[in-house]
Symmetry: none
Subunit: 141 residues, 4 copies
């Protein structure tokens, strides 16, 4: 039997609240998703004005970062034509998103969950995701 550590519901709400606060500070309404270490959704919030396709994009960025244990943007270059994981973006039903805005959340070097943010520019999505991670006091990625 394995013993696993994962984000709980309070953690997810705290992370989303911090990300939301940062999104308000920069004036960009966002979709924000938080998953546990098994890539299952714990919390989600779409701020007023958050874009419709960003619902899925935030969730899939979250899936990608949590599942691959890497920031989504770290997968962009390797998945380009000629790269070692070319084709990744269309694999798994298109759920892998390599645009900035998805981050795994680590504690003691272990992935315990992840966050995905979408609706702004990739740079804005990433800084909002980082605000969420930092509020939790977790190791950024």
């Amino acid at each position: 039997m394995q013993t696993i550590h994962r984000l709980d519901c309070d953690d997810a709400q705290r992370i989303i609240e911090a990300a939301k606060k940062h999104a308000e500070a920069i004036g960009v309404p966002m979709c924000i998703a938080v998953m546990d270490e098994s890539c299952h959704l714990i919390g989600f919030l779409r701020m007023d004005g958050g874009k419709i396709p960003s619902i899925t994009m935030a969730i899939d960025k979250c899936f990608t970062a949590t599942g691959t244990q890497k920031p989504t943007q770290a997968l962009a270059e390797p998945s380009m034509p000629g790269g070692p994981v070319y084709g990744l973006t269309s694999a798994h039903g298109g759920r892998f998103v390599v645009i900035a805005g998805g981050l795994p959340i680590l504690k003691n070097g272990q992935v315990i969950g992840g966050i995905g943010v979408s609706s702004g520019t990739p740079a804005q999505d990433l800084e909002v995701a980082q605000a969420g991670v930092h509020a939790f006091g977790a190791e950024g990625a």
Copy 2:
């Protein structure tokens, strides 16, 4: 041009918080989803111990109630063999869920959103959904 009224992000958080409080009171961890009048997710929360398939079930109950503008359980009888909407449960890729726990949220007779709850018995799911609706001061359904 149309003018549309819909739940906002604060409403969704308030509704989810009230539903969560009721779920805690009855001791059943739940998955809770809130959508706007266009059937798009605004907020979601899985309490610690909420079941994995209930993530999708809560979202799909919410979709069903918001989209059909009816409590999910009101569709159970009409969708049975011999009923007028027989076959509904498997239509739309199986997204219509006719199990109790999904409610539209109305204001002045207009659907402005909906809530879906899953992880307990259908009766428990329904009362948690009702607690969410009532906290908003909306007309239950």
Copy 3:
């Protein structure tokens, strides 16, 4: 943060081996799937002669039992027309299977994984699943 217990890879192999042995004893080649508590596949085996659709059926029985924390056959009656969860069988993309052969696996009252078996009669599938669960020394369900 939550602390979770789940089946490990050795557990899954032991469970599958025991189920396979029982299937051989009754002379029915089976498809056998084992998941962790988050409904993610750990191990799978199709014995020679195991039926092709049973690959998915075993996996989906496993998903159903693990996710709902109930033996699959316990869901058959409640999901019939007139039952409280009528429509369950077509929800979640049709992944809920209410035919005997899926069992959650519990330790100290907590679901730590599950098993799904398919290719024989439902009664045969169930006894092979039980053989798997018992070999692990877990609480049957």
Copy 4:
């Protein structure tokens, strides 16, 4: 009438065991899938720590290698923009994976099955897949 040769259940278990041993030797927990010549799953194993999206990736690499009768990475260049099978990676619902780690398994020049491995780097996935193939004494690809 045709006579077909294919991997059996014992072969699949032997192949998976050898791949697992190699994965342990290099210290990378892997997801390992083995299919028969008809692209149907015989065996699957996720080692403790194997990544969640790698469940599907291992299965889809296995499907790709078995179905196209080519190592997955051999399809990377031809499927790039300008290549003769450009678009392959998104065809078939995204099931074709052209990342290293999928190998067909041949006997007397005939494909009798395949293996797919995922969770490490593509190079690690490939060497674990090769370890599986070699243990079977089959012709690598």
